[in-house]
């Protein structure tokens, strides 16, 4: 797979949130505000890149029968490092993300990429994949968080518009499902259309 293809894969075609539907739990729980979503996305990106790098580096050393245990240990180390750094330097964000920060350890996106990509590909490709998946995840979460914050709180990044009454249902779990479902439908529709037109164009040229 070409590097450009890997880089675009996580953001568009294999977007972890809207296309692969991975990491749904933090997606729904943390996206009450755009800032929290962005922070969660960046936290996952950090862990993804670091764990992909180490796992890819050790892929020929880690025995196959204990690979999951080894992956979890590596991922948990980076999550704990992140937790300690956030607790020390960004305490407000640390408390806002709450339990979902340590739960990154069992985020199926990170474990999934470790198992399906980093353990089979070279270090450079694995880091690009981690970065691309992380950016895709961050953008998706920021989009959901921004929509929920605008509709539910009448603000964006805590800057209030001061117009109209906010619909607080969008900040609640029900609103999370609603926004997630609608955005997924819209994005899948656009992707399907563009894929169809691309194939038609390819057919005509042939």
């Amino acid at each position: 797979m070409k590097k450009r293809e890997i880089a675009l894969n996580g953001i568009l075609n294999s977007n972890p949130t809207f296309r692969l539907v991975l990491g749904t739990c933090p997606t729904l729980a943390v996206t009450t505000t755009a800032l929290n979503s962005l922070a969660m996305g960046l936290a996952v990106t950090f862990v993804l890149v670091c764990s992909n790098f180490i796992i890819s580096l050790l892929r020929k050393v880690i025995p196959n029968n204990v690979r999951i245990a080894a992956f979890i240990t590596i991922i948990a180390t980076f999550v704990t490092v992140l937790q300690m750094l956030m607790k020390s330097f960004l305490p407000d964000l640390y408390s806002a993300l709450g339990i979902f920060l340590p739960l990154i350890v069992v985020n199926c996106l990170i474990l999934g990429r470790a198992e399906s990509f980093a353990s089979k590909n070279c270090v450079v490709d694995s880091v690009i994949d981690g970065l691309s998946m992380g950016i895709g995840f961050t953008l998706s979460l920021a989009l959901i968080g921004a929509v929920r914050e605008i509709l539910g709180c009448g603000s964006i990044f805590s800057l209030s518009f001061g117009i109209g009454a906010p619909m607080s249902v969008f900040v609640l779990p029900a609103g999370g499902f609603l926004v997630y479902g609608i955005l997924m439908a819209v994005i899948n529709h656009i992707t399907y259309k563009s894929e169809k037109s691309r194939l038609l164009k390819k057919d005509r040229t042939e």
Binding site: P63, V66, A70, V81, M84, L85
Partner: protein, 209 residues
Amino acid sequence: MKSVVKTVLVLTLIALFAGLALGLVYALTAKSGSLPDKKALNSLVEASDYKELKLNGETALEFGTVKCVCVPLDENGKAIDDSLIFLTDGNSGFDGTVGMLILVKNGKVENLLCYENTETPGVGSNALTDSYLKQYVGLDITNDFKLKGSGDYWSKPKKQSGHEDDATEIEGYTSATRTSTAVVNAMSATHTYYVTNLNDLTEQINNLK
């Protein structure tokens, strides 16, 4: 056999390096001392900065643990007045200890707030609200504290025994007796520490003036 040894070796090495990395990051990020967040201290009493005092004598007391004593400072780094801020963990909460920040000035409780707790939200936390805690404001810290009716209280007689007979009686919060007890215990531990170390605390404040 060879594969088993390799498996054990690889997992051990991964765990070892993980431990080393965590230890290193912990050493870099661990807070020096136990001074509470400036935000929490500011909501108790506004000051430019806060100076942690040296803890002398016994800090793990019968009803709680005095974790930190600090003094509010002005722009020049001098102690504003005789105010002391105690961070004390009160024992016997419903889910562990309850950390209280207590502002004491000239032997009187000036202000207090809950700094950290794991009490049940909506139940135990009712005994940690400003409206409940304000009953402590103005009370004499040189007197011990006890929950009203303690001693003959049917469900928690042991937890409340040991307070001084002339202790100031505090109203408990119905349905949050354990949390009310933890707050009383934090106050009681603060009282014991204050009375025992008053001379040393006064000397340390005077050095900062």
